[in-house]
């Protein structure tokens, strides 16, 4: 587990776990948690590549920064939406919010 491989493996597994969370959780908020994990995994990747390969350029950092901003914004909006859904539907069970079916 030297250097970059290690980081990438960790981020990959974290991404997989986050994905599992998104796909299986009943509760919308838990789903959001899964999404947060996936974003963190992505940030780890960026920084790992930055540290090992492109440490003189600051582009990866900008990416990570933007990533985190997006995560924050997304969490805020997501939770607001969830609360709204909660008020309308009375529950935030993902499988019950299926008004948009064919």
């Amino acid at each position: 587990m030297n250097g970059l491989d290690g980081y990438l493996t960790i981020s990959a597994l974290l991404f997989a776990v986050g994905l599992y969370g998104v796909l299986t959780r009943r509760n919308a908020i838990a789903l959001l948690m899964g999404v947060e994990l996936m974003i963190n995994a992505a940030n780890i990747n960026f920084l790992a590549f930055w540290r090992c390969l492109y440490f003189n350029s600051s582009e990866p950092q900008i990416f990570v920064l933007i990533g985190i901003t997006i995560a924050a914004a997304e969490a805020a909006i997501g939770l607001a939406l969830i609360l709204n859904v909660y008020r309308d539907f009375g529950n935030i069970e993902v499988s019950h919010i299926n008004e948009l079916n064919g």
Binding site: L19, V22, L23, T24, L31, V94, S95, I97, N98, E99, L100, N101, G102
Partner: protein, 652 residues
């Protein structure tokens, strides 16, 4: 003399104009009474012109034919000019047709008196005469085919004249469809000959074919011999259909549904002879292929024999005569088939005479009695002496009683058959001659001798003058018809002056002997006043049954071919509606069905969508990997690696 040429065109055109005029009158239902006079006048004038031409030929002028033709259609290599070409044969036939047609029309005035479609009847008759003359005088294959079909449709219209009778309408349809079978072959023949030789006119076709015969030109696809045989036999196919030869003879007996004068004109003398005339007119083509002649002879022999046997057991007077016509046509075909060109044509001429006579006589009997059934007739001799005597003349001519017309022509045919070495055909011919003698005398005796067997036979009365005069004229023709070719061979000299057949005494002796035995046997069986049961039925049952159901040919066609064709029709209609249409509707249904299945995928579950997205990404990555990496990195590698690592081993 040249002025005379322009008159030739009027031979077919005059009756045509008469037909059009009377047709319009019939449609407009006005002055139908005048219709017969117009048509008879037209026919008589055209008869006069053709007789004048015939007289000139008999007068021994060097000219062997008079021809006039005009350009009708031009489309690239396809050029047609219609015309009139009166060779000796054509002139003879034109006179014959004109004579018989006018006599029949005169006769019909009496016969059709008071019938609903009076004008329409004469219009059809005139149209028939016009197209028959057009056929006779034609100088090219195209006009021959055109008139051939017109004659067919006239026979359809005339057989189905009383169209409100279902049997008449069926008979008309049957007649037309069966002759149409023959016409398919005829058209193919015309197509082959005209496209190969590049023109329709007879002499051009004959010249080119003679070159083919001597191998100067190589026909496509076939070898010369087969090409000539195929072309000749295809033309003959048309004759088989039109002249009711075996196996397409089934329509002629049913054609008796039409008025009797129609049967006399069309189904005895003229139209059915068209096939024989066509073979005679195009004889140089047939001469080039001995195989074709052989086939013609054999078909003629079979037809003669079968039709004769069937005629024995018929009880309807017109059916007997119909089968006798089929049999006599067989004789003419034998004549032409064995190379006796003059004999065939001579028999055609005499047959036209006495068969028309017999039909008209039968017509006057039916007119008087109101029924065709021989079993209800009997003892009419005293009631209708003229009809009886003229009918006797016709019967003896048909039977080939020495001295009468039939005797000379039939013997000449059999003589040529014997002298040209066709002994088997000769034997069949003689045998049929005997049978012909038997059934002809049987007819006369059942109708005229003995005691009347029914009320209507009791008070039958003689036909009016307008009907008996044509009978008498034709009876004279039947009596002295033989003079046409014996002792001085007028027809022989006319048709091909070169060879003079000498009478083959052996053939004449044999056929006369057999004919007389036939007559005697009929006399023995039928010349009794009382006749409880038709003596013919005492014949061995199996024989009687085969003759009675017309040797199964008719059955084969009606419930065999006809039903089979109709079934195919229904099957194809079903196939079209369910399979071809089904495919179209199926396609429409499939769109709907695929729409419905895909709809189930959008089920509103966000997580399901996420999963589908991930799978799609995986597939895309795998494809890209597959495409980018060298082939060894197939899907197997990652899975193998995954399995080994998860089980603890190291992949590398």
């Amino acid at each position: 003399m040249t002025g005379f040429i322009h008159w030739l065109a009027w031979i077919p055109l005059l009756p045509l104009c008469a037909a059009i005029i009377t047709g319009v009158m019939a449609l407009a239902r006005k002055s139908e009474r005048a219709a017969p006079f117009i048509t008879i006048a037209a026919t008589l004038i055209s008869l006069f012109i053709s007789a004048a031409v015939l007289a000139r030929f008999l007068g021994g002028t060097t000219q062997n034919h008079l021809e006039v033709s005009f350009h009708w259609l031009q489309a690239g290599r396809f050029s047609i000019n219609l015309g009139v070409d009166l060779t000796h044969l054509a002139a003879l036939m034109a006179v014959l047709v004109g004579l018989v047609s006018s006599l029949v029309q005169i006769y019909s005035i009496g016969y059709m008196h008071g019938d609903g479609g009076y004008g329409r009847y004469f219009a059809y008759l005139a149209l028939f005469t016009a197209s028959m003359l057009g056929l006779v005088v034609a100088n090219n294959l195209f006009q021959l085919y055109v008139c051939w079909e017109l004659v067919g449709i006239c026979s359809y219209l005339l057989i189905g004249f009383w169209f409100h009778k279902k049997s008449a309408a069926d008979a008309a349809k049957k007649a037309f469809v069966v002759t149409r079978f023959g016409d398919v072959g005829f058209m193919l023949g015309v197509l082959i000959l005209s496209s190969f030789t590049g023109s329709f006119s007879y002499n051009q076709v004959e010249q080119t074919l003679s070159k083919v015969a001597i191998g100067a030109i190589q026909p496509p696809f076939f070898s010369p011999a087969t090409f000539l045989a195929v072309a000749a036999l295809l033309l003959f196919a048309g004759a088989v259909g039109k002249s009711a030869q075996f196996p397409l003879h089934i329509w002629l007996p049913d054609a008796m549904e039409g008025p009797t004068p129609v049967s006399a004109l069309i189904h005895a003398a003229t139209m059915v002879a068209a096939g024989v005339y066509m073979v005679a007119r195009l004889y140089p083509i047939f001469l080039l292929s001995s195989f074709a002649l052989g086939v013609i002879a054999w078909i003629g022999a079979i037809t003669a024999f079968i039709a004769a046997t069937i005629a024995i057991v018929q009880t309807d007077i017109k059916k007997v005569l119909a089968y006798s016509t089929v049999s006599q046509l067989g004789y003419m075909m034998i004549g032409l088939g064995v190379g006796g060109y003059v004999a065939g044509v001579f028999h055609l001429a005499t047959h036209a005479m006495f068969k028309a006579l017999l039909f008209l006589a039968a017509g006057s009997v039916i007119h008087a009695m109101g029924t065709n059934d021989l079993r209800e007739m009997g003892g009419l001799h005293r009631k209708m002496p003229i009809t009886s005597l003229t009918c006797l003349a016709g019967i003896l001519a048909l039977a080939g009683f020495p001295g009468f017309a039939g005797f000379w022509s039939k013997d000449e045919v059999l003589g040529v058959a014997l002298s040209n070495g066709q002994t088997l055909i000769f034997v069949i011919g003689v045998l049929s001659a005997g049978i012909t003698a038997f059934y002809s005398l049987r007819l006369w005796l059942m109708a005229f001798s003995g005691r009347p067997r029914s009320a209507s036979a009791e008070h039958a009365h003689e036909a009016p003058a307008v009907m008996t005069i044509p009978l008498i004229i034709l009876a004279i023709g039947a009596l002295f018809g033989g003079l046409m070719n014996f002792p001085h061979p007028f027809i022989g000299s006319l048709l091909n002056p070169a060879e003079h057949e000498q009478i083959n005494l052996v053939a004449m002796g044999l056929s006369t002997a057999v004919g007389l035995t036939g007559l005697a046997w009929a006399w023995l069986l039928y010349a009794k006043p009382e006749m409880a049961q038709d003596p013919v039925e005492r014949m061995p049952v199996s024989l009687y049954r085969t003759f009675a159901n017309l040797w199964g040919v008719d059955a084969f066609f009606t419930n065999g071919v006809a039903r089979w064709a109709l079934n195919i029709g229904r099957m194809v209609a079903w196939f079209d509606r369910h399979v071809v249409d089904g495919a179209v509707n199926g396609a429409a249904w499939m769109c709907g069905a695929s729409g419905r299945t895909l709809r189930r995928f959008t089920n509103g579950q966000a997580q399901f969508y996420a999963a589908v997205m991930i799978v799609a990404i995986l597939l895309a990555v795998w494809l890209v990997l597959g495409a980018m990496q060298p082939p060894n990195l197939t899907a197997a590698a990652p899975t193998r690696w995954a399995v080994t690592t998860t089980l603890g081993g190291r992949a590398r």
